[in-house]
Amino acid sequence: MNCEEAIELMDGYLDGELDPITSQKIEQHLRDCRKCELAYEAHTALAHAISRGAPYHKAPAELRQRVQSSLRDAVGVRASGGAARENHALLTSPRTTRRLVLPEIPWNWLALAAAIILAAIIASGFLPRLRPPTSDQFLATQLIASHVRSLMADHLTDVASSDQHTVKPWLDTKLDFAPPVVDLSSEGFPLIGGRLDYLDNRPVAALVYGRRKHFINLFVWPAASDEAKAPKTITREGYQLLHWADSDFNYWAVSDISDGELQTFKRSFEQQVPPH
């Protein structure tokens, strides 16, 4: 056995995980090679230091109670919707059950109420308009959270560079798609860098642009259908969201700059992106 092999197998040897024959070969080598013997001693010392020194995070007492009570709740719900609690309520003063009137209304009454509400919604013609925005609203919440987190956690970029030829290859290796990356310094939106993010149940590219002292997060991921969509604007909690799509990608720009400026940003971006 040579030194290279010995070093490679050293952790396995140290942990007693090698077969007897290989172990013997290493032992032999350590007897013959002073350098590897020293390396082995350092390895062992480090392993012991980790075992002794790394703090073991024991579960606090309240966690045990929390786990146990949540398990009990799960059993209660599965069995009968809290049979034990209801029995208890029957035995005690009936007045205490009055607060529970709503949950105790038989399900067919609730179904009737639901049917009436549903009929009202359909009659008002609200439903067709309601549905698509809901998923967008949900996504908008995620986008804003992601934008805020990127600023708050001081983790705006994974790769900080104003050079699109640095940012783009970095993102390409981390994602299963190749997002377009362009620097817009000449239009007043300098590229600051790129970041990986996770949105709408998939990894996405986040391109970070500056606008004076403000930041723009541009989230990019492949479009589900290959038709371009009309741009859409959402204003929430003081943030501007601008969504558009081309034949390849979905874009969501999030920032605290004005809608007009965000529209300018979109136009500049579209002009610079090479046609597919």
Partner: protein, 209 residues
């Protein structure tokens, strides 16, 4: 007219009340099979609660945050209880830790996609076994706080493998099952984790001097 409405309303209330009693009767009947549920819970708690410390320790190292760790452990126990029927093995700890790990990663991915990306960079920094002075590391080996700091800086896949090996004393085979990698990969990943830790320790020691 108004009077009539009132009477109708009163009779409605009467109906609701009697209906409610019927529901309660059914519920009482249902409490019979509940015994089986309770027996299952008792058996689950007996098998899995002894591993609460191990579950919490792994979650705490992965998430590096006490509140998240507790949430994950609670969620993992609920998930484990739901699929407890499918558990026939003898290694309850490894089975539970697999669920804790999966739940932790779900949260890590959801909350901090960025946190996981650090692991990719490990491939770029080739580990050099002799970069740190063994003597210097040995000298500070007793400093638990130093080791904690260095270990917390490691990527998630290194933190978990060090915790599983050094704190739970699991075998390569058990670790491989939890982390879903072959035993040979466990060895090389553990080697890289230790080398990286030593590198961080050496850096910390250098800073202090």
């Amino acid at each position: 007219m108004a009077l009539q409405l009132k009477t109708e309303h009163a009779s409605d209330t009467q109906d609701l009340e009697s209906h409610r009693k019927v529901v309660k009767f059914v519920v009482l009947k249902k409490s019979e099979p509940d015994h089986a549920e309770r027996a299952e819970l008792a058996s689950f708690e007996e098998t899995m609660l002894p591993h609460l410390d191990a579950a919490h320790n792994l979650a705490r190292w992965l998430l590096r945050n006490e509140q998240d760790a507790q949430d994950v452990v609670q969620e993992a126990y609920l998930r484990a209880f739901k699929s407890f029927g499918g558990f026939h093995g003898s290694n309850g700890r490894a089975w539970l830790l697999t669920i804790v790990r999966n739940t932790s990663y779900t949260l890590l991915k959801k909350n901090r996609a960025v946190d996981l990306t650090t692991t990719f960079d490990e491939e770029i920094h080739a580990t050099d076994h002799d970069s740190a002075s063994p003597a210097a590391v040995l000298e500070h080996a007793e400093d638990a706080e130093l080791i904690r700091k260095a270990m917390e800086e490691l990527p998630a896949e290194f933190r978990e493998i060090l915790a599983l090996r050094h704190q739970e004393g699991l075998s390569y085979k058990e670790i491989g099952e939890i982390v879903k990698i072959p035993a040979g990969t466990v060895m090389s990943r553990l080697a890289r984790a230790r080398a990286k830790l030593r590198e961080y320790l050496a850096a910390q020691i250098g800073k202090e001097k």
